[in-house]
């Protein structure tokens, strides 16, 4: 034992020295050195008329005072997009610092040619390392989404990034995304979390398109068409409502909340929601508890494609009129309400289908994919010219609605 002591001591020293000297980590970042960006807003860089006037006025003033007027980089190649971020004060989450709302989060914004250049411009004025791994929402301004070139660049910037999760919510904002991001909401102070919670809790309303970045990118990969949720700004709150129709990598128009529900019904995505029909001028709200659809495709006598879409639903009646003579607890009456709802659903779906077939000319459901999967022989015929064929396809809707319950009173 003792004889080996020097050897043992040497090896012990060696082990400790090696463990201390060799191990290490290049990528170590302390958590409070990271800025967890929860929401990212991207807009097209545009000088508004008022701003132009303001700048010119200021320039004239400066000239009068004998100063050289400031140059405003109006149309340089670098001024393409406006990127805005918001990150929460992590120190606050740990319980440090005062609870002043202004300290909760830090909004920042800059102009640049692409997302990453903008982020690096933001980084030089921050004391932290920008981290996108916890990004919850990406807001894209209407103006940018309508610009095909810029939109495709932004999409690729996000698609390529390994930090950004595909579970991020990708939303087209009505107006400026930056404005939406810098809103001071009453309900939930941090925009990223706010949007995430809207999606998680209100998806059952079926009033907006429940798709994430990964879904939108996947849909765009096929033909360049997709439907993305829309964000609407209000005074001190946001609403995710309706959807943006993206045609050929460009925002082409909006769909309202009811239209979006119809689109989702055809896409078999509806999980809930309220439909109100009028029976003898009394509004009857119907709560969807289950919904589905079936598609049949065939050639008609003329050789044209015809699609039969059956929209199925189950649910409850949740309201009627107090002390009304006609009681709800009557199978015949229930059947007649079912019929009214069926007509309403068919009308909604026919309407939105007409809009998408003839006004937009976009197959946002990916029926071509449906054909490729389930009817490959039809796909072989029409797959190549689907864009031209889709508006010509005859769409027939029918509906099968069941009312299961009527609440706790007769």
């Amino acid at each position: 034992m003792l004889k080996n002591l020097p050897r043992r001591m040497t090896s012990l020293v060696l082990v400790i020295a090696l463990a201390a000297g060799i191990s290490g980590c290049w990528d170590k970042v302390e958590i409070d050195d990271r800025a967890f960006v929860l929401a990212l807003a991207i807009d097209k860089f545009e000088y508004s008329e008022e701003e132009k006037a303001r700048v010119e006025e200021q320039g004239a003033e400066e000239e009068q005072q004998g100063m050289t007027p400031k140059e405003y980089p109006a149309d340089s190649r670098r001024n393409r997009i406006v990127v805005s971020i918001v990150y929460p004060n992590v120190g606050l989450l740990g319980g440090k610092g005062g609870l002043i709302p202004e300290d909760m989060k830090f909004p920042m914004s800059t102009v640049g040619p692409d997302i990453y250049e903008c982020l690096s411009q933001l980084a030089i004025s921050m004391s932290k390392d920008i981290f996108l791994g916890h990004l919850k929402a990406v807001l894209v301004g209407e103006g940018l989404a309508a610009d095909r070139q810029l939109f495709m660049e932004v999409l690729d910037d996000m698609d390529r990034n390994s930090e950004i999760s595909r579970n991020v919510y990708f939303i087209v904002v009505e107006g400026k995304a930056q404005q939406a991001l810098f809103i001071e909401p009453l309900v939930e102070p941090i925009i990223g979390t706010y949007i995430e919670k809207i999606f998680e809790t209100s998806a059952r309303s079926s009033r907006f398109h429940q798709k994430k970045l990964g879904d939108v990118l996947r849909s765009l990969d096929i033909h360049g068409d997709a439907l993305a949720p829309r964000l609407v700004m209000r005074e001190r709150e946001l609403a995710v409502a309706g959807s943006s129709v993206i045609k050929d990598y460009r925002h082409a128009g909006w769909l309202g909340e009811i239209e979006t529900r119809a689109v989702q019904w055809i896409d078999n995505m509806v999980r809930g929601g309220i439909i109100t029909v009028y029976v003898d001028d009394i509004p009857v709200p119907y709560e969807i508890t289950e919904a589905g659809r079936e598609i049949k495709i065939q050639h008609d006598a003329g050789g044209n494609l015809r699609m039969h879409i059956l929209l199925k639903g189950e649910g409850n009646i949740v309201g009627y009129k107090f002390a009304e003579k006609q009681e709800l607890m009557d199978d015949k009456f229930i059947k007649s309400i079912e019929k009214a709802i069926e007509e309403e659903v068919v009308a909604e779906c026919t309407g939105v289908m007409d809009k998408l077939q003839h006004q937009f000319g976009v197959d946002i459901w990916g029926f071509s994919e449906y054909l490729r999967k389930y009817h490959p022989e039809i796909y072989d015929e029409v797959g190549k010219d689907w864009e031209e064929i889709f508006p010509e396809v005859k769409m027939l809707f029918s509906s099968d609605i069941k009312i299961r319950r009527i609440g706790i009173t007769k």
Binding site: N167, D221, K373
Partner: protein, 377 residues
């Protein structure tokens, strides 16, 4: 051959094969099969798997004909000495290139997803040195290590896949078998290279306690790998759809960025998957590294292979840093699979077996199979 006196069991051979063959290819496998055959990619995996199983079995039958000899020795008997030496040299080069690709793709993926500030050189060097340590320990340690690690790779993988089951849309695999048979066959030729690694049996069979069991071991290992590949391809394609699978460089990893574990406070489980994959690559690299070292040491008739381990490390390191960028890496990898992988994995072993059969070579009965091979030559 001090360290190589120890033998491996048939189970250990199965484990070595599984951990060896599942390597860098698994990350891009769904993309490759989908590029070749669209939604019928799984069929390529099956065709490739069957072909590879047959070839792997033939390799062990070849080993049975020459008890106590590895390919280094009997290639000389079958091909004449100069050609045999050439064959062995080619084999070494093949192993070294394979190692280089493992190291490089490992470094690329790790840099992309986990360690974006660590220099590629450091990732490659530390990984290579760790593997060198394993290779120095010899085949028995590798066998035991593989036995331990294979369950640690396979079981967590399927556990982490469970939350994804809800997101799998099996209609992404439709339409079934609409690809033309000709296209399926040409695609299968490309995909079979993802089964490469079984040719290590040409060397390892000698080190088995009962070399006759090698054939059975391969018949267990190869179908298991095929099932694993099938699970990976089907899950990836059904989550992402064929359009996106074709676009993403490493789709098998990408699906774990989509999966949310319900109730878990961790957002991305792909970190765990990365660590499983690192272990699997480690075994792959060690296997091929050992193959190179072993071939060389048997050629030089050395008693201890471990001398050669460290001198080969700089060679692998150098090869691994040759491609300029990730696109070049995959260009080289395609070329490598075509011009070295298919010949050394499929054509040459089968050729050798045919040659042996034509010459009417019968296994030498009664010979001491446990004897070190070097003396048999």
């Amino acid at each position: 051959m001090a360290r190589n006196d120890e033998k491996i069991t048939s189970n250990q051979l199965v484990a070595i094969m599984i951990s060896l063959i599942i390597g860098i290819g698994i990350l891009s496998l769904p993309r490759e099969v989908t590029e070749e055959a669209g939604p019928d990619g799984w069929a390529l995996i099956i065709i490739g798997g069957i072909v590879s199983t047959i070839v792997a079995f033939i390799i062990t039958r070849l080993g049975d004909l020459f008890p106590g000899q590895s390919v280094v020795e009997y290639s000389k008997t079958l091909l004449t000495t100069p050609l045999g030496i050439l064959y062995s040299l080619g084999f070494i080069l093949y192993f070294l290139f394979f190692c280089a690709f493992e190291v490089r793709v490992f470094a690329e993926v790790l840099k992309q997803f986990l360690l974006d500030r660590t220099p590629t050189e450091v990732i490659a060097a530390t990984f290579l040195l760790t593997s060198a340590y394993m290779v120095r320990q010899g085949v028995a340690s590798m066998g035991r290590m593989a036995e331990l690690l294979v369950p640690a790779i396979i079981i967590p993988y399927f556990l982490f896949l469970l939350p994804a089951v809800g997101q799998m849309k099996y209609d992404n695999l439709l339409p079934v078998l609409r690809t033309s048979p000709l296209k399926l066959l040409s695609g299968a030729a490309v995909v079979t290279t993802s089964y490469l690694g079984f040719e290590l049996a040409l060397l390892l069979q000698v080190y088995m306690k009962r070399p006759k069991d090698a054939g059975k071991a391969m018949l267990i290992a190869m179908p298991l790998i095929m099932v694993f590949y099938l699970a990976v391809v089907i899950s990836t394609v059904s989550v992402l759809g064929i359009h996106e699978v074709k676009k993403i460089i490493w789709p098998s990893l990408a699906i774990f960025r989509l999966i949310k574990v319900p109730g878990a406070f961790l957002e991305n489980i792909h970190g765990f998957i990365m660590s499983i994959w690192v272990v699997s690559i480690f075994m792959t690299l060690s296997g091929f590294y050992y193959g190179a070292v072993l071939t060389l040491s048997r050629m030089l008739k050395l008693k201890d292979h471990s001398l050669l381990v460290l001198p080969l490390a700089p060679v692998i390191y150098f090869f691994s840093l040759v491609p300029d960028n990730v696109a070049k890496v995959y260009d080289f990898l395609d070329m490598f699979s075509m011009y070295l992988g298919i010949p050394f994995g499929f054509i040459f072993p089968v050729g050798l077996y045919v040659l042996a059969k034509l010459r009417g070579i019968k296994p030498k009965e009664g010979k001491d199979v446990e004897k070190p091979a070097a003396k048999n030559d």
